[in-house]
Amino acid sequence: MNKIYPSADAALDGLLSDGMLIAAGGFGLCGIPELLIDALVKSGVKDLTVASNNAGVDDFGLGKLLATRQIKKMMSSYVGENAEFMRQYLSGELELEFNPQGTLAERMRAGGCGIPGFYTKTGVGTVIADGKEVKNWGGQDYILEEGIFADISVVKAWKADDTGNLIFRKTARNFNPPAAMCGKVCIAEVEEIVPRGSLDPDMIHLPGIYVHRLVQGEHEKRIEQRTVRKREEA
C-alpha cells in the first residue's frame, strides 16, 4: 500500500472537484501546506470552501488561491494580513464565516472524531451565537457548534514514515492535526520521508491512519513577523 506520491500535483490527482470543502492546516504562514496550495492553484479547481485559521498573505499561502478567485468561501478566525481578501470580501465576491479560533480547531477535531455537534461557552452573548442553539448547564449558557466534515484535508508536517505516521515541529503543528483528522481524504506534505521503524512509536503526533497520501518537497517557510533581540555585549 504505497502512500508516497512523486509530486503535489500527483498527490491531488483524482481528488478535486469544484465546490468542495477543503480543510487546511497552518497558523499564519507557519506550518502551511505550501506545495499543495501551489498544486491547487495549478489544478484550476474552483468555488472552493476553505476552512483554515488564516487566509495567508497576498502572495503566499492561501492568498494565492484568493488571487486566482478559486475560493468562494473562507471559514477562518483571523484574516487581517490579506489585502486582496478584504477587497474581495467587501465587494461581495467572497463569503466569510468567522469562527473563534478554538471553536474552529474543535470543530475540525469533532468532525474527525465523528462528533456532529458540541457545546461551548465561547461566543455566548456575541454575534457568533446568532442563530445557534443554546443550552444551559449550571446557570451558564452554551452554544451548539457543529463538526466540520471536509472533503479533503491539506496539511504540512515535518517528517513522515512511509506508513503516513507524522511528526510536526514546534509551533508548526498548530491546526495541522485537527485539519488532517476532519477530511475524508488527507494529503500531507513533509520535509522528509523516513522508512517505517525510524520514528519512535510513542512519539507519533498523528498516526498514519489519518494520512492517505504523502508528498515530500522543499519548503520556503516564510516568516511573517521577524522579531529579534540584540545580543548583549560580552
Binding site: 497558523f27 507557519c30 480547531a105 474543535e106 461557552k121 508548526a172
Partner: protein, 207 residues
Amino acid sequence: MPWDRNQMAARAADELEDGMYVNLGIGIPTLVANYVGDKDITLQSENGMLGMGPFPFEGEEDPDLINAGKQTITELSRTSYFDSAQSFGMIRGGKIAAAILGAMEVAENGDLANWMIPGKLVKGMGGAMDLVAGVGRVIVVMDHTNKHGDSKVLTECTLPLTGKGVVDRIITNLGVLDVVEGGLKIVELADGVTEEEMRSSTLGNIV
C-alpha cells in the same frame, strides 16, 4: 500623574502569582512579561505552546517557532508544544489562570469589546473570544480614554462584543477597577490621580 504603558504593565504583573499559566495579548499586555521578576510564570501562546521565551537573537529566527502574533520567538526549558485543538481545550477548560488583554471598550457589567469596529476593516476575533470565555480571570489593560478623550469604560459597550460579563479587573493609566455586583469598584488610583478624576473619566457606574 497617570501611569505610563510600562507602569500599567508593571501593575498588571502584580496580578500574577507564582505557578500561574498566563496568556498575554498584544500591545501593553506583551510588556507584562518584563515585570514578572522572580515569579514562576509560564506564558501560553494559543497557537500551541506553553513556556514562551523571548525574541530570538538575530540570525536565530525559526519559521516553525512563532507566537500568536506571528512573531518569531524562542523556547525555554519548560516548553511544550501541542496542536490548536489541545491549546484551546486548555483555554476553554479553564486551565489558564489568567489572560491579560487589551480592549477597545469595557462595560460596567464586564462586557468586553476588542475585536471589531463596524464599517472598518474586519480582521476577525482570532482566539480572543475563546480566551475571555475560558480563562480563570480576565484582566484588561488599556488607556482609560481613547484618542478623542472619550472614556473606554462604559455603561454599555457600543461595539460588537468579544464576551459578555467576562472582565474581572481593568487596569488603566488612571488606576485599577474591579467589576463587581452593580458596577465598578475602585481598587487603586495611580499616583496623583484623584477619585474625582477617576469618576469623571469613567462613564460606567462606580459603586
